[in-house]
Assembly symmetry: C2
Homo-oligomer: 334 residues x 2
Amino acid sequence: MKHIGKQTIQFDAPPTILQTASIVGPKEGQGPLAKYFDQCLEDEFWGEKTWEKAESKIIKETVNTVISKSGVPSEEIDYCFAGDLLNQCISSSFGLRELNIPFFGVFGACSTFVESLCLGSILLDGHAAKNVLCATSSHFCSAEKQFRFPLELGNQRPPTSQWTVTGSGAAVLSSSGTGPYITMATPGKIVDMGIKDANNMGAAMAPAALDTLITHFQDTGRKPSYYDLIISGDLGYIGKEILTELSETKGYNIKSNYEDCGVLIFDKENQDTHSGGSGCACIGTTFSGYFFKQLKERKINKILLMATGALTNATTSQQGESIPGIAHAIAIEN
Amino acid sequence: MKHIGKQTIQFDAPPTILQTASIVGPKEGQGPLAKYFDQCLEDEFWGEKTWEKAESKIIKETVNTVISKSGVPSEEIDYCFAGDLLNQCISSSFGLRELNIPFFGVFGACSTFVESLCLGSILLDGHAAKNVLCATSSHFCSAEKQFRFPLELGNQRPPTSQWTVTGSGAAVLSSSGTGPYITMATPGKIVDMGIKDANNMGAAMAPAALDTLITHFQDTGRKPSYYDLIISGDLGYIGKEILTELSETKGYNIKSNYEDCGVLIFDKENQDTHSGGSGCACIGTTFSGYFFKQLKERKINKILLMATGALTNATTSQQGESIPGIAHAIAIEN
């Protein structure tokens, strides 16, 4: 691989995304993308006693599903990258503790899925591995409990808030395969523009998304029109509008080919999620369920997949801190 | 690089550890390694209003110190890997948000420092970067508050408990340099032997350390005697004894050349830390402060540096879960 421009990595032998899998919760199963997911759960607990244990089960079963679909025996998967939103990433470590695959824990908040795809691709192109597993999860109930208020309080959610996706997305990457290929990665910087509203994550993350997007175009010489689609993770309705406008001020028009997974995964009219979906699983399931199939069927052939994360916690909000954002992008091409 | 054995990576052009830096708290500054650290703080707050903000300041200043000592302009550092114990790794993201270097968040609990050195080395040997920064931190007060009890309660600590090191360790790795070199990496698997005592992390992590250690020897054909020192992160007195005994049952005698940073960083007789030090900064500061200088001065020339982590949080303990462990190892040689 080689480093191009300021912060982009171009792969010499682009890794193939061999397979993906996705399991989602009941609300996502009533949304517009329901038919693309491997499994839609009937309730948020899935037979477990707590939301945290349910989330661990969701990532565990998603990983089992993707390994099975990939046809790669699990003993031939060299390394696993995983992370999630729960404190100390317990959903990943408890969900995957029986996996018996060397494990790199990663944390990029809702950018974790693409961060893990970046790092997995680097291992594959560097000949450190032949097959790599990437996984992430989030859960509406465990996230609300941890970051905002216990659901039992019945707090009203402001219009700028987003709905954490319950689910998990996972992918098996391989050094050999027929694509879709991860051709480039543009890991992002932390950008903090001073937004302090923990109920407006889209606004907090949009400046980081802008930074990564513009840097990707500058590093590669590509224009927005190079891609069939530019896809962000979970900026939601508000963040999507901000990113579209900010891009235009920088001379890049993304209006015609830009989508956000947080906008796509729920129905705006009927599902009452306010500014759309969020969480690690938002891009994790939407990519693994929906976009990967579009790539495999060659309905789309070139995408820039950019996951955004808010690097905050409940304590920093209480201590009056602003919310740093980050965005990691990869180019996926047939 | 190439993959050897089950899970080890051997670097073709082993990255150099160009420089390290360490800043520690007052208790560490009264310990036996005090003179090796770049700075010993006089109090746990360092002028900040909260322990979390103090921890962010410690990692920030440690990173500024290592960049300055390395002589590499920060704009020539291509990527940064960092993580810590605080929820959502806020010490790293808040501490490093002004750094303006593309950022990979990693989480391996107390194994984070070596996990970041592993991944940094992979990027360097794969030509994705020329210089990489790795950093981690922990803080006794923020960790006790988050994982156990608020210090104000004055709870008694059981004899098996360990004392979270207040401090930060950071390293600049480079694709060119005269060593010490990171020659191999053996990333570890999650191992959970059912230990449930959140006040006995050494016992919870020792089985993971054993797994990584034995795998490293099997993958590489090396014996314990190949290394001048085998160094674990924070198994403490109890975990160190367990690992030594378990290794012997597997046919590997590490009695004569095995040290643990949790045992070294505090004075057993006079500092009342029970089973020794722990936390991301335990191996982070002990390696960056003490062992790196020993390597540079060629007092030691071949070490296996293995950081151990307990992948748990306060919620899982309350939900009756056991504590999964992990250990990542790198070989560092002159």
